[in-house]
Structure formats: structure tokens, C-alpha cells
Subunit: 335 residues, 2 copies
DNA sequence: TTGTAGGCGTTATCAG
DNA sequence: CTGATAACGCCTACAA
């Protein structure tokens, strides 16, 4: 920067004024500065800037795994929103082993990050998030922590679950099983609640619907489908409500290997609308979440927070049921 | 830091010595410092550190899109390798619109990033990469720029392509078409070369194999499959060699909609082994690339570069053919 | 073994 | 409108 100042025959402060237009500069000298910048290919040292401004123009994105396309989509939304503000996004994939408490908190403590977008997804411990939020603003995506209202951007899982369940019930299904997500997760609770509402709405007793608790991963869908469907045909559920697509796909795999036809013998629905869900056979009936939007909005909310703007982004984003091929009326002869 | 020094009744330099063990400190005073750190929850300001050390302990990861699982997997490898070194990863998804030259170069210029791992994938302009590499070390993943040997971590696409093509030929296929990737891309060239080698190896003339050039995206697979297969059955290819899985999936979609059975009427192979490729029906025969490894190795190479270690990671990583259901012998009666 | 002081590249304050 | 100058928080000779 000193070089630029010399080259332009002005003082460093003038250079600074020009670069941030933070002060009045005579047009002629401003041009001299701009020229010098170009000639010398100067660009300001961002570390020094952060040091002085006490802000890093960088946010963190905590995500359990990128290979899950839902997370990847949210991440893209986050990235877009951040780069629209000229802010960098640091990718944090918490190590499965080890104390998340520490590793997360370290992120914000060094002041390299101004805030964090937290995608808890497969059930990180609330403790580690709370710890993190002591050191700076944190916005949760797709999850909430009941009792601690951290700012969160989520969507109306409950409504989506209710609607997709209603669709299944409307087809005539009465023997239904739920493959739920980890019960500690808000989304899993919401979806379950939605399913139960629909069941109640159809005049059935929600308590009679078997709930199998999975972990949102494909393998658990397979295992639980086995568990749900391994019984005499007359008692076997004719529809499986899966709390996410990955488990639904696992269930589909199970059915394929067990010779159970979908949707002829059993209907299956998922939740998330992963891109691959419309590629598999049968195409999965599911609930679309605005994943990209959620990421984008989370960043917006984070910046509002950083500027004390008190933006309550608490309104839930809408979900939309995607009707596809994995649902059909129950086989003839089932009650 | 001054606070810590006061609390521990030592000088700031002692604190610094302790924190980096960059100087001898009496055990008793060291403990006092460590205590103070804990009590005050002190952690060093990383911006100041970077400023002084002229290195940010941060690398950039440029990736065309995260929703592509191949990229996501590489990204996870990058993340792992970086966090093993306590280095942050900044996610850069170049804006489709706008000058990549500028936006990329900006990354390294501000010295917030020590280096960049560049995942060119769907064909970013070499110019923008070259521009970037003027300002700091850049390691390419999965691509090379012929003529400019930038350090690159890639895998042996050519061999994989040759082997999978040979498998198809071994099944008896003789009317074959290739759905290739963008001809500017090294991977596309390599794969095409591999296919041609296999064809020549089977005693056929490679120049008689029709080459349809796609863009590695699903839609182009669909369109080109249409083009390749819309002809009298007697002349229609019995096998499609697709240069990546996405296009193979597109081709599969086309076949499904056109009532062409895979693999009974036409065999299809892909390249990449995306997780979803074994989920679709029929399960796709394809070539696995060590995506995670490539990401990991790229970071290793980048750090070697940063330390002038001259690590030539030019050895190509191995690929492995995944035999699955989308290939069968050609229909009876085809030459 | 410990402390003091200077500087890393910017920005902001305050005289001119 | 412009230019010295003092921080920002840390590291590191160098001196004690």
C-alpha cells in the first residue's frame, strides 16, 4: 500500500480513502491512485483489514456431510448468499470422532469467522451448538433446539408430513407404519406430529400406528422396512411413511430384495425430495423442502444478526408434496 | 493476550512462547499462563497471526457445483485433509455468470488463502486458472491443462475407459456409440482415447465409432441417446459408452421413455460411480474414481508446494470398473 | 529464562 | 481536501 502511495505521489491515507471511499479525495488524485493500483496489481491484505475492522468477512458453514444432496443444496444456497455479500464461506465438517464441543467452538473463537450457519441434520448434540453460540451468532438450518430459541431457518415439516400422509390415507390405506427420524431431532418430531395429525384426521387412532425409529440414513430404512414388513401379509402395513428420502430409498431397496412390489404391494413415501428421488424406480412420492432457499435465508438472517437487525426469520418456509409413482391404493382385500 | 499476561503475572512474550512453544519457559510460569488462558477463555486472534506470519492457514476449494456427488466427495476429502492440518477450507463456487478470471484471482490476491484446490469438472476456462496460479499455488483435481503443467491430482481415466469398453466388447457388442464429454476437457479426451484403444484392441476401426459430444450433464445424455438410438434397429448401436454417470443416467432416462430396454436392447456404461448409480434401475456398470482420495491427495500436494517440497504427485490414481446390471450381450441377430 | 520494543498492513483520528 | 500517526493483536530479535 505504501508502494501504491508512492507511485501515485499521495499518502497512504489517501489510498485508503480511495479504496473504501471513506473520505473526500480530489478526482485527479483518485485517478492517480486507481492507476497505481492497477499498475502494481495491488490488492489489500485482508488479514490486516480484519485485524483492524474486527470482522473477517467470513462465515462458517457446519454440515454433517456433503455427500448428502440435501446438505449440498443448502450449502450452495449459503454460498450464493455469502458471495452476493462478498463474504467467504468456510466449510466445516465436524469429525465424527472427537469432541464436537471443542472443535466447533474453536471456529468462532479465533475471530476468523463472523458467524456460523449450522446444519445439524443428523443430530449433533445441542450442547456443542450452544457452546458455539456463546462466541458469536449462530443460525440453525432445518432444525431447532426446543427450549433455547436460537435463530433458525426451517420449513414447515409438519405440514408437509401431514399432507403427504393425507395423500396416502386418501388412497385408502389404513394399515400404516412410520419410519421416523432420531427422536431428539426437531424435524423428526415435527414430521411425526404431522403424520399423526393426518391419521387422526382420517378418524383413526394415531397411537395404533407403529413407529420405527431410524437415524435418517439409508441403512436404517432398509433394516426398519424389514422389521415393519416381515409379517403375514394380512397384517403387514400397506404403506410406509418415511421421515426422509434416504430411509425411503433404503426401504425401497429392502422391498426389491424381498420381492415386495412398490407400489402394488406397499406404498412408500419419503421426505426431502433429493434429486435422486425422481431418478430411481419407482419415482418416490415425497415432500420437497426449499433447501437452497433455506441456505440463502440462513445467511440473510445471520447478517441481520450481525448488524443487530433483529430479523426474526421465524416464519416457516413452505413445503410441497411431490406426487410420484411410489404410492398407489392398497392391494385389494386389505381392510 | 495482555490480559492473560497480567493474570499470569508474566509478560506477553512469555505468553506467546507458551502458546507456540517457541521459547523456553519455566514450568511453573508456563502453568500459570495455561491457567490464565483457561480462566479467561483466551484464544489468539487469527487475523493478527496471519498478518504477522504471512500465511492464513486457509485454503480455497473451487468447485463448479456441490450437488454433483462426485464433487461433493472430492470436497469431503479436501476438507478432511485440511482439518487434519488445522487448516480451514473456503468454499468457492464460481458464479456461472461473470468473469471467472477476476473472481478467482481475487481469492488468492487478498492473501486470505494460502493456496487453492481447483476442481474444474465441467470445464472452466484454463485462462482463469492460469490467472489464479500467478498469485499462489494451485492444484488441479481430476483435470489437467495440457501444455501448462500445473500440478494436478488425477486418476487414470484412460485405463478405466479402456477396461470398461473392453468389457462391453467382450460381451460381443460391435455397434457401439460414444457419448463423450466436452472435448476441451482432459478427462473427456482421456476417456475417449481409452474407448478407442479398446475398440482398436478388438480389431475394429476406432474411426467408425460415432462420437457424440455432450457436456457431462444429464440432459445432454438424454438428448444424445435420442440422437444415437433414433434409427432403424438394425443399424442402431447396441451399446452406449458414456463418459460420465450423469450422461449415462440421462441416456437411461431416454431409453425408458422411448421404450428401449436396458440392458436387453442396448447396454449402457458410465464413468464416476456416483453413489446413486447403484441405486437406479438397472444398476449402472461404470468406472469408480477414488474421489475422496483425490481430494485428500490434492491437499497434500498443495502443502508440499507451499513448503517447496517439490512433491510431484503426478502418478495417476487407479480406477476400478464396477460391473453391474446395465450391460448384457447384444440382442440376438445383431452382427 | 524473561521482558521490551518494533513492525506486519490497514484504518481512523485529528491536525493542517 | 490531505497527511502524519496511533492503534489493531501478535510475533520475535535483542537486550537484560
Amino acid at each position: 500500500m505504501k508502494d501504491v502511495a508512492e507511485h501515485a505521489r499521495v499518502s497512504v491515507s489517501t489510498v485508503s480513502y480511495v479504496l473504501n471511499d471513506s473520505g473526500p479525495v480530489a478526482p485527479e488524485r483518485r485517478n492517480r491512485v486507481l492507476d497505481a493500483v492497477r499498475v502494481l496489481e495491488y490488492s489489500p491484505n485482508e488479514s490486516a483489514r480484519s485485524l483492524k475492522r474486527r470482522s473477517a468477512s467470513t462465515i462458517g458453514l457446519v454440515v454433517p456431510e456433503l455427500t448428502n444432496q440435501f446438505f449440498a443444496t443448502v450449502a450452495e444456497g449459503v454460498q450464493k448468499a455469502a458471495s452476493a455479500r462478498d463474504v467467504l464461506v468456510v466449510l466445516c465438517v465436524p469429525d465424527a470422532t472427537g469432541q464436537p464441543e471443542e472443535s466447533h467452538a474453536k471456529l468462532l473463537r479465533g475471530q476468523r469467522l463472523d458467524g456460523v450457519v449450522f446444519l445439524s441434520g443428523t443430530g449433533t448434540l445441542p450442547a456443542s451448538i450452544l457452546e458455539l453460540s456463546r462466541f458469536g451468532p449462530v443460525v440453525l438450518v432445518d432444525e431447532q433446539i426446543p427450549g433455547f430459541d436460537l435463530p433458525a431457518v426451517a420449513c414447515d415439516s409438519r405440514r408437509g408430513a401431514r399432507e403427504v400422509a393425507r395423500h396416502v390415507l386418501d388412497q385408502g390405506h389404513r394399515r400404516i407404519a412410520v419410519i421416523s427420524g432420531p427422536s431428539a431431532l426437531w424435524t423428526a418430531q415435527q414430521r411425526l406430529a404431522g403424520y399423526r395429525e393426518a391419521v387422526a384426521g382420517a378418524g383413526m387412532d394415531p397411537d395404533e400406528v407403529p413407529i420405527l425409529v431410524g437415524d435418517y440414513r439409508q441403512a436404517s430404512g432398509t433394516a426398519l422396512a424389514d422389521q415393519a414388513l416381515s409379517r403375514p401379509v394380512a397384517q403387514r402395513p400397506t404403506a410406509l411413511l418415511c421421515a426422509n428420502d434416504l430411509m425411503a430409498i433404503g426401504a425401497l431397496e429392502y422391498c426389491k430384495s424381498a420381492g415386495i412390489r412398490v407400489p402394488e404391494d406397499v406404498s412408500i413415501v419419503g421426505f426431502d425430495d433429493l434429486p435422486l428421488s425422481s431418478l430411481i424406480t419407482p419415482r418416490l412420492t415425497t415432500v420437497r423442502q426449499p433447501a437452497h432457499d433455506m441456505g440463502y435465508k440462513a445467511v440473510t438472517a445471520l447478517f441481520d444478526l450481525l448488524e443487530n437487525k433483529e430479523s426474526e426469520l421465524l416464519g416457516l418456509l413452505p413445503t410441497t408434496v411431490q406426487l410420484r409413482d411410489s404410492v398407489a391404493p392398497p392391494p385389494a382385500g386389505s381392510p
